[in-house]
């Protein structure tokens, strides 16, 4: 967690202050339309991109906002 992240409210802060919230997969599909396969895809399976991915972060030790940013998983750096 040595990286820094840019919170939309607090600005650039130490990675320690944040909690990772997973890849951005969009809103949960309606439960009535889910099958066990699509549910598993949404809840548990990840794309695990080697490169830039959009993901969720929570500014836990700060303003308490969930926000998305782009991070390069190969360098572990935020991509602005």
């Amino acid at each position: 967690m040595s990286l820094t992240l840019t919170c939309p409210i607090c600005g650039e802060r130490n990675g320690y202050e944040f909690r990772y919230g997973g890849e951005d997969k969009g809103p949960m599909p309606d439960s009535k339309e889910l099958t066990p396969e699509t549910w598993t895809d949404y809840v548990h399976n990840n794309n695990s991109v080697a490169g830039v991915q959009k993901e969720w972060w929570f500014h836990r030790d700060g303003c308490g906002t969930w926000f998305t940013l782009n991070r390069d998983t190969t360098t572990n750096l935020e991509v602005k």
Binding site: S2, G21, D30, W56, T65, W66, T75
Partner: protein, 991 residues
Amino acid sequence: MTRLENLPTLKINSEKALTLHYGGKTYNGVQGDTIATALYANDVRIFGRSLKYHRPRGLYSLDGECSNTLMEVDGIPNVLTENTPAKNGMQIKAQNVLGIDANYDLMGFMDKLSFMMPAGFYYKTMHRPAAVWPMAIKFIRRAAGLGKLSPDFQINGRYDEIYPDTDVCVIGGGPAGMSAAIAAAEFGLRVILVENKPWLGGFFEYRTVKDKNGNPVCMRAASLAEKIEKTSNIRIFKPAAVTGVYNNNHVVGFQRGGEKDFFDRRYFQIRAKSIVTATGCYERPLLFDNNDRPGVMQIGCAHRLARTYGILPGRNAVFSIGHDLGIETAIDLFDLGVTISCVADTRDDGQDPELEKELAKRDIHLLKGWAAVKAVGWKTLKKVVIKPITGSGEHRLECDLLVASAGLTPETGPLTLGHAKLKYDNHTGFFLADRIPEKMHVAGRLIGLNDPLSIEASGNLAGLRAAADCGENDKDGVRQAEKNLASHSGPGRGSKFISFPGTGKKTFVCFDEDATLKNIDQAMEMGFNVPELIKRFTSTGTGPGQGRIPGHNLALYVAHTDESPDKKPKPTKTRPPLVSPLLATYAGGAHDMSKRTPVHEMQKAAGAKMDRVGVKTTAYDSQMAAGGKMERIGVWNRARYFSNDKTSRDEIENVRNNVGMLDASTLGKFRIHGPDALKALQRVYVSDLSKIPEGKIKYSAMCNHDGCIIDDGIIIKKEENDYYFTTSTARAGATVEWIRYHTRYEGWDFHLVNLTDAFGVINLAGPNARKVLEKVTDADVSNEMFPFTGYREYFIQNIPIRAMRLGFVGELSYEFHVPSSYMQSLWEMIEDAGKEYNIMNFGLEAQNTLRMEKGHLIIGSESEQRTTLHDLGLGFLWDRKKTDTIGYFALNQTEKQAGRFKLVGIKMENPGSEPPKDGSPVVTDKIMGYVCTARYSFSLNEPVGMALVDDSLAEKGTKISIFEDGCNGDLKHARIVNMPFYDHDGTRMRM
């Protein structure tokens, strides 16, 4: 030995003596000595024995590049004595020695057995027949490893930590680093300078040679250091090691405290806008037979022994070097009184003509294109054999000191950890930084510079560029600095790699792991041709020196020997920590942070035994039951018992028959309000919350996507779009995050406020609770006006109360939520009013038994990560029409799923037996569940409990067996029964 005096570079004070104890003898050192220099001054030449072959090892370097001088100091093993300051009275022991000091080692014969230990012998030998290995491993375990730590050893000292933020962080306090720091600081930027020695100056500091302006470089170092010390916006960390450099300019390391510091070690994490690495070079060992003999040392080591510590490293020296620094040192040591037989230089040409003249003046032979091939001697050096690299002939020279060095190796560790890429450079013979991340700069010897003025100029330029990263872009200044750097000499030609053909059996590439050239050859014969893999297979460079001794040599030797077309030298990977810290450094100071409830002191005064709750492990209760001292667990201090009776019998019976009060302030308490507040609640709670009647509480639970229960609590609708809800103590911290996460896409309009610390909670429970309450309030609290599950807001005196009737402990019970500042007053009022009924405090343990008798669950005790709402029999809470509730899909899928653990009540087959410990597994021929909570029930006069068991055992009447830790395998037997155990119809809580 008397020390040299009157040298401007000395760092010792020979007036101030100190004593060290080693091997049953006392040695005298002086203030400023390191442990190793103090011993060296007393003619100690052997400091330890090598890992595998128990070869004697001496002082080779003063920078901690190998394990040669690792010793046990005051009970701490593996102290690098060559750069640890000596303190009066230190107790020192040699390591890896069977004997009292390193001079005599009964394991010395191991050296003769080296043929039995080829590369990778662990993997290849002693495996057949299979029975050999278990015996061999015992021997290997005893023989392997460095140093011994007594299991009783407790480390003393103070361990601090800091997390500074800065503009520029300069790693390395040599001439380049200091120039960079000064350049950046001149803009008023905040600069942190990290230096690993106790003083600034780098390789200028001990040298009297003059730069092209005619200034002795040691004086130049002193004036730069003085300027740095005077600059208030430069903060110096010294002596401090950088252990790692990470993303976004995160520099991590530790500082050693001096006499005046309040810490012994201080861990630091620096966040910088820009980094300058000016870590300089260490020396590249020369490879020849017995290159590890005591008496063989590096140029810098020999030079600094004399110049910094006033110790002549030997009387009669031979030099075998590959760099002008070697010639300079030979001249200087000659002038200080060392006899020098000759200087063998691996280079055929390219020596500094001025230095050659000085050598000639002193009548010292310079043999160009020659190098040492063998050191002769066992415990001390007797002779050196030198040979020309091409051609024939040899000299055998008697000596007691061989100053040997193949050249220089840049310290690239911080660079590569900071994600710079290295590339081999033929001109300098270095792995140079090829691609450097943004906002990181390099300067000094690290980029191959040798000339003192070039080094300073490169530092100045790096400092200006770092300042530009921080918004101080002085374009003219940078252009000027670039011109200035270009006007001085550029990177010098590096020394070539040499290795003589021969057996290489005792030519050590890595001292720490006793890896020889022969081992590398063996690995290559087996098909390894990548240095990184050879490193793993032969463990070359995996020791405490972190690969600094094999450094470039391994990669160069492999490229040199490999016959494949692609044979560019490839560096091995550097990993943190670059320097090994004490574990205590990482542990840091005491981090015991916890919260107290508003009535903490009052509870203590009433005799409470405090305990920590909030985040519990499943083992917690059983360990408590076993008499364990569990400290520093949860975030809260809570009263667990009010007597020494761990069953809390009096407290329990008082609640059942009279009236008790409990401080429940640790409950999570939240307000959610705004137009979309209800939508947010509906998303996370499994129940339908759209129709909570006024004046009523609603019990519900939250699940995760898997349908597993994560929290339970009550929700109150205070008014339209304004709700108050509680969570369990442990869940309070994650609640805001959870609710906001699961509404993150919608942009709903609601506000969520954590009131956990703002409100305190008193639970008044027992058949006489109403009588006590009636004494303090005028409000009508009769059962008709304020029934079970009711919610009321009223005043007690002037204190605003949120009152609710709950049945967690199974009796008539009130919960008062009041602003924390009123808690003590209300507590006293109720206590006073209750005196006539002999009201008593009850603690967490009493509450636990009381609620267990009622079959009420605590998340985390009666559930674990895989427990669903259905498993706990709480499926009735779930509203299956709300399809967008978190967990809906899984709740639907698992409702009828077989093979799950179900929550059941249990009674012991033998009512006289002790209740099983919490967490004890339920077993058949395999584990079929576990006991959640079991206690002796004073209401039923027998032990009862709750357990999560496989649904095949969950039928009422089924007999189960419980394995309990510490019962020698004797199983306890219990039977599944109905819950609750107490007051089945719930009439008592509705009174």
